[in-house]
Amino acid sequence: MNAFLAFVLTLVGVVGLLVVLTNDPVRQTVLGGVLSLLLAVVFFAVQAPDVALSELAIGTVAVPLMLLLAIGKIREHRAREEEMRE
């Protein structure tokens, strides 16, 4: 195992922890994207380009997109509810 791989793996561990510790959904989504990006780097490093490409497409594009859309929807619902209350 080379130093680069060890370094990126450590970063993966740190970012994984940050994802769990972050409470704001948007910031968390961004961190989730970073985690996926780092994972993709790890996958390239362990000679798994197919998985790395999938992880890039799904983990850094599709899943964050879904999450952001859901966050938007949820905020919309919350705003509408507050409107109704007033």
Partner: protein
């Protein structure tokens, strides 16, 4: 109440992690992961399937049924999302007025940028799908990239979305279902033409993109399925009001 949970959960996580870590220290050293199974499959890929991507050969040929099941997981999850995000009949009228009030959104620039990006990305996606048997990539990756391209239009201008998804939502569903069906049909093709379900029944030695027998076809089916499925989810999340017009 919550403290009790954190104590129980913390203790549990510690125990599980300790067990898992203990098992990991008993594994082979990193970098020595050779198995006979993996080796045999890797060795068989080029001579037997004329494909160069052993991962694609495993995914669509050696262990093709797993992929079939997994495609259906994706397919049915999207059906599930449609079911879960449906609007009930009584809510429809309220929702409709909400749409009218929303109006167009998103700047002119972002819309043009998104539209401009779609063409090149779609070509790239098609390339990745088509070369799945040969180079890294294939149906999963290409499908997801295609989805990203179309999603860019969706997000780029919500106005366009309201017009396009209304007409395209049904087509997305159908693309999704066609992709899923395509993979089973390939399985049945093996059964009918070669006698075993999911047997690679197409000549593998054709040159060019058609190498690998059913692998390129399976890649196309999966690409269609993944793109259709992910786009349906995005469309549902983007505007669940649209559902009321489809049910």
């Amino acid at each position: 109440m919550r403290r009790g949970r954190l104590i129980v959960g913390g203790l549990g996580v510690l125990l599980v992690v300790a067990a898992f870590a203990w098992a990991c220290t008993g594994l082979h050293a990193f970098g020595h992961g050779t198995t006979r199974y993996g080796e045999m499959v890797a060795r068989a890929t080029v001579p037997q399937r004329a494909a160069t991507n052993a991962v694609a050969a495993v995914t669509f040929d050696f262990r093709g049924v797993d992929t079939l099941g997994e495609e259906f997981i994706l397919f049915i999850a999207v059906i599930g999302v449609s079911i879960l995000l449906r609007s009930l009949r009584s809510e429809t009228s309220e929702e409709e007025t909400h749409i009218a009030a929303a109006g167009p959104r998103g700047s002119e620039f972002s819309r043009w940028l998104a539209a401009g990006l779609v063409g090149p990305v779609a070509v790239l996606a098609a390339y990745i799908v088509a070369h799945g048997a040969l180079t890294p990539g294939g149906g999963f990756q290409g499908g997801a990239i295609l989805m990203a391209a179309v999603a860019a239009i969706f997000v780029g201008g919500e106005y366009v979305v309201l017009l396009t998804i209304r007409t395209s939502a049904t087509w997305l569903d159908i693309a999704d279902a066609l992709g899923a069906a395509g993979l089973v049909v390939l399985g049945f093709g093996g059964l009918i033409a070669a006698g075993t379900f999911f047997q690679n029944f197409i000549d593998k030695r054709t040159s060019g993109l058609l190498t690998g027998g059913i692998i390129p076809l399976a890649n196309i089916a999966v690409g269609l399925e993944v793109a259709g499925a992910l786009l349906t989810v995005v469309a549902e999340l983007l505007d669940q009001r649209l559902l009321s017009t489809r049910t």
